[in-house]
């Protein structure tokens, strides 16, 4: 996803009352995170599970929250997703960077990247994959989902190498 679209996505979510953005950084979405850092709206946590915990506390207190992470961190978080977010039904938006989307990505991302869509499906997490054309519609979908009390995930693909 291009820099300008990542920035627009952040602005759009903020404008629509997402008040907290908590997570562990991922270069795939660095423009999204940098925009939030500039506005002092980002909390960088030590691990992804922690980010989910903080966001849960904020959501319980009536403040809409998003957690962001790379898919490696999503792997870390599965138990927290099932036994906290899904079990208590906490309406969080997840923004997950998809490393290993390209089969030529770095080796540590290949296996998880390959099975990521299946894991999301197995967990029963409703998901939209973002691109330059659909990001606004997908963000609206995510907001509606959380307004109805459900969690969901937006995925940003890694489409470049560095």
């Amino acid at each position: 996803m291009k820099e300008i679209d990542q920035i627009k996505l952040f602005d759009f979510l903020l404008k629509h009352k997402v008040e907290n953005f908590i997570g562990v950084p991922d270069s795939t979405m660095k423009h999204f995170i940098n925009k939030g850092l500039k506005l002092k709206k980002i909390i960088i946590s030590t691990r992804e599970e922690e980010a989910i915990g903080i966001a849960t506390g904020m959501t319980l207190s009536g403040s809409k929250s998003l957690v962001f992470m790379q898919n490696a961190g999503f792997g870390n978080s599965i138990s927290t997703i099932t036994s906290l977010v899904q079990m208590y039904k906490i309406p969080l938006i997840f923004l997950i960077g998809w490393r290993g989307y390209l089969s030529s990505d770095a080796p540590e991302h290949l296996l998880l990247g390959k099975i990521q869509p299946d894991i999301l499906k197995l967990l029963g997490i409703k998901t939209k994959i973002l691109n330059s054309k659909n990001w606004k519609k997908s963000a609206q979908w995510a907001l509606k989902h959380t307004d109805n009390g459900n969690m969901c995930a937006l995925i940003i693909r890694r489409e470049f190498h560095d």
Binding site: I52, L60, T80, L84
Partner: protein
């Protein structure tokens, strides 16, 4: 001291505090002794009571937020001590019931017999205290009323030997009554 005594002592004198309690025997004990709607009982997600408490503390700055943690629990998520110390919520008081063991899973040892949690608390910007008797706890609970957080209190306890009943509410009920009760305040 056993957990039940400690929980009674803290709760009877702080009826207005929001409490986030760690999974396992801590939540069960709190539920049995001092159930109220603004207790958030953790079931599962070991280690995350402190993270959830932090999120609540930041959004409800006028309320006192108590975290009831265990030594096993806090060791699983030491990272949140760093985050709490960085964000410094004044209204957060983090209690650790330290019995040097994973009591809920059969009493296996934790490493707090050799590693002092209060030292970790100090370097992560908490105001840190440690108590070993009920008398010390009583005095400390009065003292901290005039101290702003984040505060860490390590309470050395013995293993209980008894098992409290499970939290009777379903997870979604725990969430609903919590949300409704903080809305009223």
């Amino acid at each position: 001291m056993i957990k039940k005594q400690v929980i009674n002592e803290i709760c009877l004198k702080n009826k207005n505090a929001i409490i986030v309690s760690a999974n396992g025997f801590i939540s069960r004990e709190l539920f049995e002794s001092f159930d109220k709607p603004d207790n958030f009982y953790m079931i599962g997600s070991m280690g995350l009571a402190s993270s959830i408490g932090l999120g609540i503390a930041m959004k409800l700055p006028k309320r006192k937020i108590f975290i009831f943690d265990g030594d096993g629990n806090v060791l699983m998520n030491l990272g949140t001590l760093v985050t709490i110390g960085f964000l410094k919520p004044k209204n957060l008081i983090h209690f650790i019931f330290d019995n040097n063991s994973h009591e809920s899973t059969g009493g296996q040892p934790t490493m707090t017999s050799k590693i002092q949690l209060e030292k970790i608390g100090k370097v992560t910007n908490y105001k840190t205290f440690k108590v070993k008797t009920l008398k010390e706890l009583k005095e400390l609970l009065i003292k901290i009323k005039n101290i702003s957080g984040p505060i860490l209190i390590v309470i050395k306890i013995n293993k209980n030997g008894t098992v409290s009943k499970r939290v009777k509410y379903k997870p979604e009920e725990i969430r609903e009554r919590f949300i409704n009760s903080i809305r009223v305040m």
